[in-house]
Symmetry: C2
Subunit: 218 residues, 2 copies
């Protein structure tokens, strides 16, 4: 049974991110036709602790069977409802440079129900060209087109220098959820959800680790 959101419980960001990991792992397990999985095994696969897995899931309900574990397909379904990926989300891509066009072709997004319906650019040479079956639209037509196609989420893959300007336009068009790939922190009104994907961050984390690792053998 799924606990109803009672407006009190505060679910942490870490818990939500781990739900993504569980969801991905369960999708693979389902393909392998595994029927149940224990918190221990799920934890091993995602490098977490069994208690962590159980606690995360317990925030949302009791999905397991004592002595047995969790039913793979059912748990996957439950998590998809929690994350809101048990449906289709209409997405628009703004910016058709390297990253933008790579993401338009990125299968993983579609698999999770994030369907890119529109792509925009401000470069006249790109506008009208075909990208994986989608015609690049002029960014000046964004407000109208976003509305007409019921777009709920915008992915921003534009150069950092113009990102704040473009995000302002996206916000003005009424969009409330934005995933930003530009390497800069953007300002948006409090009713707009913005997440920024910083691809350098993980590389820098590796660089920090290599630089500060303890000397071998001691």
């Amino acid at each position: 049974m799924v606990k109803k959101s009672d407006g009190k419980r505060k679910i942490s960001e870490s818990t939500i991110k781990r739900l993504s990991l569980y969801y991905r792992a369960l999708s693979l397990l389902e393909k392998e036709n595994q029927e149940t999985i224990s918190s221990k095994e799920l934890a091993r696969r995602e490098k977490l602790t069994p208690a962590q897995v159980r606690k995360d899931l317990s925030f949302f309900g009791s999905f397991g069977t004592r002595g047995l574990g969790y039913p793979v397909s059912e748990l996957k379904q439950q998590i998809s409802e929690i994350l809101g990926v048990n449906r289709v989300w209409n997405v628009a891509m703004v910016g058709v440079g390297n990253i933008g066009s790579a993401l338009v072709s990125y299968k993983e997004f579609q698999k999770q129900g994030f369907i890119i319906k529109l792509i925009f650019d401000n470069d006249q040479r790109k506008i009208g060209s075909n990208h994986k079956g989608l015609i690049v639209s002029d960014i000046r037509e964004m407000a109208r087109l976003l509305r007409e196609h019921h777009i709920e989420i915008v992915i921003l893959a534009v150069p950092a220098i113009v990102a704040q300007y473009i995000v302002d336009e996206v916000v003005a068009a009424g969009i409330k959820a934005i995933l930003n790939f530009a390497p800069i922190n953007l300002q948006v009104p409090p009713d707009v959800y913005l997440r920024t994907e910083n691809m350098s961050m993980e590389l820098e984390y590796l660089s920090f680790t290599l630089t500060n690792r303890r000397p071998p053998a001691e």
Copy 2:
């Protein structure tokens, strides 16, 4: 003055990731010729608290001046030393699909000193072709080439289904730091640093937020 690593202090992952944010913000400020910045303003730009900024920096030294703030260029330089980005890192890309080739052209990596020296694929049609001035090498020559070019970090952008197999080869070639873009959790020996960039996670986080946001007005 920079505190020397005394082997005791444990710096949290969050602190390191925020250092990346500060570094990025400081790079922009430096371009704008701003000479000093307060923890308050830096926090505002990165949506953090001033105390957080000061505490993070205090783990590594006293970089500021009371009553004035932090000197932009100097702080940037200090953070670059802490993160280990005050040097060049030789990087290889494995996998030249959508994501892989987009990242090869991604300027941000080069700007931070991560120079992609080699690119690999196992597709015979791609091997030998030219990508942004680099010839795609056969993955079977990986061990030799990685050694010859003193590669320290490998970026993995291959399909999930072959990712574990390929990462095993990368590890066998002696690489100790891997950034994985395949949407799967990989197993590596304890002396190998692996970070996985999960691009669906942030989209799913947005989806969760949209799904569970409190109803407007109440």
